[in-house]
Amino acid sequence: MSFVEFENVSLSYSEGGQRAIEGISLQVAEGEFVAVVGPSGCGKSTLMKLISGLKPPSEGYVYVNGRQVGGPLGIVGMAFQAPNLLPWRTTLDNVMLPLEIVEPWRSERGARRKEFEEMARAQLARVGLAGFEDKFPWELSGGMQQRASICRALIHKPRLLMLDEPFGALDAFTREELWCMLRDLWQQQPFTVILVTHDLREAVFLADTVYVMSKRPGRILIRREIDLPRPRDLEVTYTDAFASHVHVLRESIGRVREN
């Protein structure tokens, strides 16, 4: 069985109300980088809630790691469009937040405090935030806050990282920088990624597989494998192969919007 598996999943937020997503089946292999794109309100974020166990499906089954999802799992890390850092904590303390919650870190926190701190510092250094550990979030730029937010999502070594439009609020240059950061993190330390985004270039550049979803109720329209060789450099975004992937995806989204 795949690492993440959706079996004909539907979800409506209210009993008998309109469905946010309908009849979704998909498989994600361990270590795969998946991107989900679609127009606004197509239920992309709903997918994330289902996988993280924040919402149970109305119909169908969601399996993560071979087991049906029944509630929040500690093996998932999440980051959103807003960095959502806690303003009263330093960057370092923000990054260490999951270690205060997820077992087994939580109970070992007292004894291994120093070690955990080193881990967080190393993680911050990996995303280029060395020297900013003791700054408060408001002293960081938007891009830096988002880097810290991704560090927080990864600190407890989750096997599945879920990103909900994480770069949506950043300017184009910062966004491309963070693509590379995410690519490097993923290549250094393998984990499964599910990235929800509006940005087709982002999806094609980062993902192994891209799913396009329809308007509400969200269904999966196409699954497209991105066979561009890895490691990918930003240069790849200017190649014809890249452009044709983006083009095909763009056309399918165009069809969604017309209907």
Binding site: G53, L54, V76, F80, W88, L97, I101, H156
Partner: protein
């Protein structure tokens, strides 16, 4: 000589106070208003100095009464706020009652307290409590209830319990609201205790003013008012300072006076 903007900023409240006192003095002197109607500030000050000892005795009594009521209000307010803010059902159930209760003028409630507890400090403490706990409840509840859903999702997806979320995020996040409410609550507590003293006590600034006005000793009444005002300002500033120190992360504006 030109004062730097910073100095002007610091002096502004003092300058305005002095200006208003001068206007007040000028009006009283200029129109020769009778002191038993509207005493000039100089006369009020003179009375204050002459009656310093009795005023201080009563003021300290009022101050302690107020603080006692305020302390209970902070404790009860914070606990109720935490309950209301973390449980939508408790919020829904309790809020209308709280609003209704807060709309009742507390002065109307003092006679009831006198029947229950007799004349003296206890009705004053309770009135101070009743009048000042509401802003604390509302602010703490608001701070908790306006938690960003994404932030809650981040924690819930990690498997955090409601209690975890309350401790790690809810309570720290509501601290600025809490401290902001303390500033308001402490001034309201003075209102409560003085109201009760004027109706049912034989100690405290409220009582002093009541008895002074019954003998038309208007300068003493005004001296009492001034003392209450001064105590209110001092306590307000004290809590503003505390707020500034403890929730620095929430007050980042360069121009914030506090």
């Amino acid at each position: 000589m030109r004062l730097s903007p910073k100095v002007v900023f610091r002096l502004a409240p003092w300058l305005l106070t002095v200006f208003l006192l001068v206007c007040w003095e000028a009006i009283c002197q200029g129109f020769e208003i009778k002191p038993f109607l509207f005493p000039a500030p100089s006369l009020v000050f003179k009375t204050g100095v002459e009656m310093f000892d009795p005023i201080m005795t009563h003021a300290i009594h009022t101050f302690l009464t107020t603080l006692a009521g305020f302390a209970i209000a902070v404790l009860v307010g914070a606990i109720m706020g935490a309950l209301l803010g973390s449980s939508p059902i408790i919020y829904k159930a309790l809020y209308p009652m709280l609003v209704g209760f807060n709309s009742v003028p507390k002065v109307a409630f003092v006679p009831v307290l006198v029947v229950w507890f007799g004349i003296g400090s206890i009705p004053a403490i309770i009135t101070a409590f009743l009048i000042s706990f509401f802003p604390v409840v509302v602010n703490v509840a608001t701070g908790l209830a306006t938690l960003e859903p994404e932030l809650e999702d981040v924690l819930r997806s990690l498997g955090a319990s409601r209690f975890d979320i309350l401790c790690k995020v809810g309570l720290p996040r509501s601290m600025p609201y809490f401290f902001a409410s303390l500033k308001v609550a402490v001034t309201l507590a003075f209102v409560g205790s003085v109201i009760s003293e004027t109706v049912a006590s034989n100690l405290g600034i409220g009582y002093l003013m009541m008895s002074a006005s019954s003998t038309m000793n208007m300068p003493l009444v005004f001296a009492g008012l001034m003392v209450i005002g001064a105590m209110g300002v001092v306590m307000y500033e004290l809590f503003a300072l505390l707020e500034h120190r403890l929730t620095r992360w929430a007050n980042r504006s360069q121009n914030a006076a506090f």
